[in-house]
């Protein structure tokens, strides 16, 4: 295994695509010539939320009190980030947390005088997307935790996103307001009610400019369609429908209709004792509106064509790698469960993440993946203890970069991994507060197995399994990534000389 890999890029990456440019300029990572400096941190947000509480009014005392309690090592459960997602232009970045909040970050406008600020994001809007609920019929608590956020392609001046907890998907509109009506008849300037007898003339309220306000409003609530927990949502390229997926079913919704959804996949056996596998994730093809894929806990992926039948219980492609009998163990089935499936941007490949590896599948080849990357193979010997502390059930996500040439996924000890598909080079980076000075260049990390530990290597036994990076996202066409580490959100970009 190679040691320190310089992570570089060429200067051309500074080129931003012109607004509305449909074919963004791709650039390779890491470039071959080795002129760049590596990944630098541009921002870090701890408990990314009410940075400007003013919008939330004083009424929410709970949050304010919380903020006093927070020291640097203490995070309440509710602050743990549960999903991160860039929108289709990369202009906005959304995070959701276990407390049901969504925080949207907006990218700083690029300024000529401070070109280094190009990757900086600031809080744009914060809102409570889901509240804890109680299902009285089943005596079950429904957590407010945001399981997934998906942005809709921008359709007008406002932004739209779908957020989901275990049961309910909501469509949020995030819009700006910079005018407000003034000059009421019944109220005076301070908002006090005027004595009706003093109203002697009529005036028409007018809209006056005011400070920019960002508001989030729930436009649609898609509920009551899932018996099990929703693990993923995906918007169709026809921009008319989306799917929501729980452990056993996939439902198809029209974005405009909330009282009806169509069940298109149902793997629930008549007798629940015969249940052998569950759906872990599902996604629509980025271009073909009729194709979607779903992954299972048995390590397989099924591709369905909605043109063939109204019910997609029968798949049209089935991707599975035969198990190697040599490595079979008690944990084989658990570690082969797929935690995330993602189509590449060009729609040719599927990427899946299981516990130890990331695999890339060619849609034309069903019997084995075209590429397999070891994420943290050094854990293979520690599966027993990972089983005991439940870590083996962690669900890591995986992402493609804009040009599908690099893939990224998380690991333990706040490490995350990148694999260059062309050069086959890989790197381990750490998202940590210790080196969290802005503009600090991330040092590649290395985990050593066995006795001799070189300087700046970390022993497998000293890895902190409570610090895990499950959720990451990559800017749609630039080398900017966002990494969620427990209650911290890190944004990194490749260093510009």
């Amino acid at each position: 295994r190679n040691e320190q890999i310089p992570l570089q890029h060429d200067g051309s990456s500074r080129l931003n695509p012109a607004p509305g440019c449909k074919a963004p300029r791709w650039f390779h990572w890491p470039p071959a010539d080795g002129t760049g400096a590596g990944w630098e941190q541009v921002c870090r947000f701890q408990d990314p939320k009410p940075a400007d509480l003013s919008m939330e009014e004083e009424s929410d005392t709970r949050k304010i009190n919380n903020s006093f309690l927070r020291d640097h090592n203490y995070a309440t459960e509710a602050d743990i980030i549960s999903t991160v997602e860039f929108n289709s232009t990369g202009e906005l970045l959304a995070t959701g947390d276990k407390g049901g909040r969504v925080v949207v970050f907006q990218r700083e406008q690029e300024s000529k005088t401070q070109p280094h600020r190009r990757g900086e994001y600031n809080v744009y809007s914060t809102f409570q997307s889901h509240e804890p609920e109680f299902d009285y019929l089943k005596s079950l608590e429904i957590e407010e935790k945001i399981n997934k956020i998906k942005w809709l392609p921008q359709q007008n001046a406002a932004y739209f996103l779908l957020s989901t907890n275990d049961k309910t998907v909501k469509l949020w509109k995030i819009s700006e307001r910079d005018k407000r009506p003034e000059g009421y008849n019944l109220k005076d300037e301070d908002g006090r009610i005027r004595d009706p007898s003093t109203i002697t003339s009529l005036r028409v309220p007018v809209l006056q400019p005011m400070d920019l306000m960002v508001e989030a409003t729930a436009r649609r609530i898609f509920s009551n369609a899932h018996t099990y927990h929703i693990n993923s949502i995906s918007v169709n390229s026809d921009l008319q429908t989306f799917i929501s997926t729980d452990d056993l079913r996939v439902n198809l919704w029209n974005l405009e209709i909330t009282d009806r959804s169509f069940n298109i996949v149902d793997i629930k056996p008549a007798n629940m004792e015969e249940l052998t596998e569950v759906i872990t994730s599902a996604e629509f093809h980025p271009q073909q509106c009729h194709t979607f894929a779903y992954s299972s806990s048995k390590g397989s992926i099924r591709l369905c064509d909605m043109r063939l039948a109204a019910l997609c219980d029968k798949h049209c492609k089935y991707f599975e790698e035969p198990e190697d009998p040599a490595t079979r163990s008690f944990f084989s089935e658990i570690i082969s469960s797929i935690s995330d499936v993602k189509f590449s941007h060009n729609g040719r490949y599927l990427m899946t993440r299981d516990y130890l590896t990331v695999k890339v599948w060619d849609l034309q080849m069903e019997n084995k993946p075209v590429e397999t990357y070891q994420v943290h193979d050094y854990l293979r010997g520690k599966l027993c203890s990972l089983y005991e502390n439940d870590c083996i059930f962690d669900k890591f996500e995986c992402v493609w970069n804009g040009s599908d040439s690099v893939i990224m996924t998380g690991s333990y000890n706040n490490f995350f991994r990148m694999f260059d598909r062309n050069t086959k080079r890989d790197v381990t980076l750490e998202a940590s507060r210790e080196n969290s000075k802005p503009r600090a260049i991330l040092k590649p990390r290395k985990v050593c197995v066995g006795g001799k530990r070189r300087k700046d290597e970390i022993s497998v036994d000293s890895l902190d399994f409570s610090k895990k990076i499950l959720h990451t996202t990559w800017h749609p066409y630039e080398n900017i990534i966002a990494v969620a580490a427990t209650n911290n959100l890190y944004i990194f970009q490749d260093k510009v000389n």
Binding site: Q155, N156, R177, L207, L239, Q240, L308
Partner: protein, 577 residues
């Protein structure tokens, strides 16, 4: 309020204006709109875009009726800016309403105003940055096209062409859904030169949601073209759509089949549509088969008369026979809802020979919906072959449905009882079905008991008071002594329903004594229903009975220990006095 100096008259208007702009919008849309109507000052609603959807929706609708309020047709163009804004919001219903209003007021523009004010708006929308405005533009081309100069017409055609190949599927869908309408206002030469190519392109769009809308356009386009051009210009696309890879497109073809059939004419129907229809009836997707099955009767009806029977017998009937034993119950029930209609088309002999076995098979289907659909359409068959042919199989089917475990099924069959009784005649009914009707009265589901009560009333209306007196009334009144108070209440409900149909004599002589006796019931629910019944049957009784028999009982009930009994008794007393 102080003073009569006219100030107080301003107050309600002040409330209305403030409400209109109130930030916490209540659902008091009506009030807001009323105020709007009074204060149609353009610049208020010019900036309304921030408001709630319901307000915007109502606003978009109302602005279409504003012509007179802004000073008549010559000023109507000042409504365009607010409607233009509304036509770009993200909420589809609001946009659609705004477009509808724009279409409406376009008619009120003079030709000059149309070119000066309206047409530029359409162009702006058509070249807007966001898809929302471009989708709205699609619905406006057809209303302004006929009334503008030929240069502007050329521009409009160009805009429409551009939108048909828009990047976003939403705009292409909007264009596809308006294609037929636009084709109708175009000059015939442009239909051929422009529309056909757009139609072909949309019908082979990569998104099936666009392709299926092209099928709809196919109907209007086919009606516009001369018969000789259909074969070359429309049929290739239609054939392709009928065999599309996506079931949704084929579904759309099946769903629009009757319209398509009328649009393309009898010759093409014979050569092309018959085989296409056969394929749809045999489609691998149940949704498509069900949609096609729904069209069987209409399709057969519209076949050219000269060889209709031959086409049905050789091409359609074999497929129909297969569908009778389809694996999907929706397909079977779709077929069952129309199959009886074939008997009028095929005549007595064919019905007996070919259709009757199918009816009988469907009457024995495992799915109750199929059986219900057959039974609900019995009247078609009755006209052709008489119902006796079926009665042997009909009876077991009815009995089974009447005792189905699902109460909704029982409810459905009850609703067909009056119809069946009419078809089968009073003797058959008395002999076979009367017991069923009475059994429903003691069903354990209230909805069934209620429907059964209503059913009795309809039967009495059909068979007359004498029949009621002999067959129904004794049984109903017998239930008044039932140990179950729910059944005793059913007696009261039946009396409520039947009194009018039975007339004064039966009501006074037979029913009233029973009701009065029940006023001593130990269950309060029964007692207050007695009060309600007395109120209900009051108008049927003569005044003597009211005074001497009803009134004392009501007065007694009005002093009942139970609050509800008292209440209803008092209500009855006040109403009768």
């Amino acid at each position: 309020m102080a003073g009569a100096d006219g100030d107080d008259s301003l107050y309600p208007i002040a409330v209305l204006i403030d409400e209109l702009r109130n930030e916490d919008v209540q659902n008091d849309t009506e009030t807001q709109l009323y105020s709007l109507k009074m204060y149609s000052i353009i610049h208020i609603f010019y900036n309304t875009i921030y408001d709630e959807d319901e307000v915007l929706l109502a606003l978009a609708e109302q602005l279409g009726n504003f012509t007179m309020l802004v000073g008549g047709p010559e000023y109507v163009h000042c409504l365009l800016p607010p409607l233009e804004s509304l036509a770009t919001v993200e909420e589809t219903v609001v946009r659609d309403k705004a477009v509808e209003s724009l279409r409406k007021i376009s008619q009120e523009h003079s030709p000059v105003d149309l070119e000066v004010h309206f047409e530029p708006l359409v162009k702006r929308l058509a070249s807007g940055d966001w898809f929302t405005s471009r989708t709205s533009a699609c619905g406006l081309f057809s209303v302004c096209y006929p009334r503008v100069s030929s240069t502007v017409k050329a521009e409009i055609r160009q805009h429409f062409r551009t939108l048909c190949s828009d990047d976003t599927p939403m705009v292409r869908r909007a264009a596809a859904s308006k294609l037929g309408e636009f084709a109708k206002v175009l000059e015939p030469e442009y239909v051929k030169s422009d529309i056909i190519s757009l139609f072909t392109a949309l019908a082979s769009d990569e998104q099936d949601s666009v392709r299926l809308l092209a099928v709809e356009a196919c109907v209007s386009i086919a009606t516009l073209l001369p018969q000789e051009d259909l074969e070359t210009l429309v049929m290739p696309t239609l054939r392709q759509a009928a065999e599309d890879k996506s079931w949704r497109v084929r579904y759309m073809v099946a769903d629009k089949f009757s319209e398509l059939q009328k649009a393309v004419g009898s010759e093409i129907t014979k050569n092309d549509l018959v085989p296409a229809f056969q394929n749809l009836l045999k489609d691998c997707e149940a949704e498509v088969r069900a949609a096609a099955a729904n069209k069987v009767k209409e399709f057969c009806e519209n076949l050219p008369e000269d060889n209709r029977e031959q086409i049905i017998m050789t091409h359609i009937l074999p497929c129909v026979k297969e569908l009778v034993s389809d694996t999907n119950q929706h397909v079977k029930s779709a077929l069952a809802s129309v199959i009886m209609g074939l008997s009028t088309i095929l005549g007595k002999d064919n019905t007996i020979e070919h259709l009757l076995p199918l009816f009988l098979a469907q009457l024995k289907d495992e799915c109750p919906e199929v059986r219900l659909n057959i039974i609900s359409n019995l009247d078609c068959v009755n006209e052709v072959i008489g119902i006796r042919q079926l009665s042997q199989s009909l009876l077991p089917a009815i009995v089974e449905l009447a005792e189905d475990a699902k109460w909704r099924v029982r409810l459905a069959i009850i609703e067909y009882m009056p119809l069946l009784a009419g078809q089968l005649g009073v003797e058959f009914f008395d002999e076979k079905l009367n017991t069923l009707c009475m059994a429903w009265l003691i069903d354990h589901v209230y909805a069934i008991r209620e429907a059964a009560t209503c059913n009795l009333m309809k039967l009495v209306e059909k068979f007359g008071a004498e029949w009621a007196q002999n067959t129904i009334v004794p049984k109903v009144l017998g239930m008044a002594n039932d140990p179950n108070y729910l059944h005793r209440m059913t007696t009261l409900f039946c009396i409520n329903a039947l009194s009018e149909a039975c007339g004064q004599e039966i009501t006074t002589k037979q029913m009233l004594p029973v009701v009065l006796k029940m006023s001593n019931d130990q269950v309060a629910n029964v007692r207050f229903n007695v009060a309600k019944s007395l109120q209900k049957i009051g108008p049927v009784l003569d005044s003597n009975a009211l005074q001497t028999e009803v009134k004392p009982v009501l007065e007694k009930l009005a002093t009942d220990s139970d609050m509800d009994v008292k209440y209803f008794a008092q209500e009855a007393i006040t109403l009768q006095s």
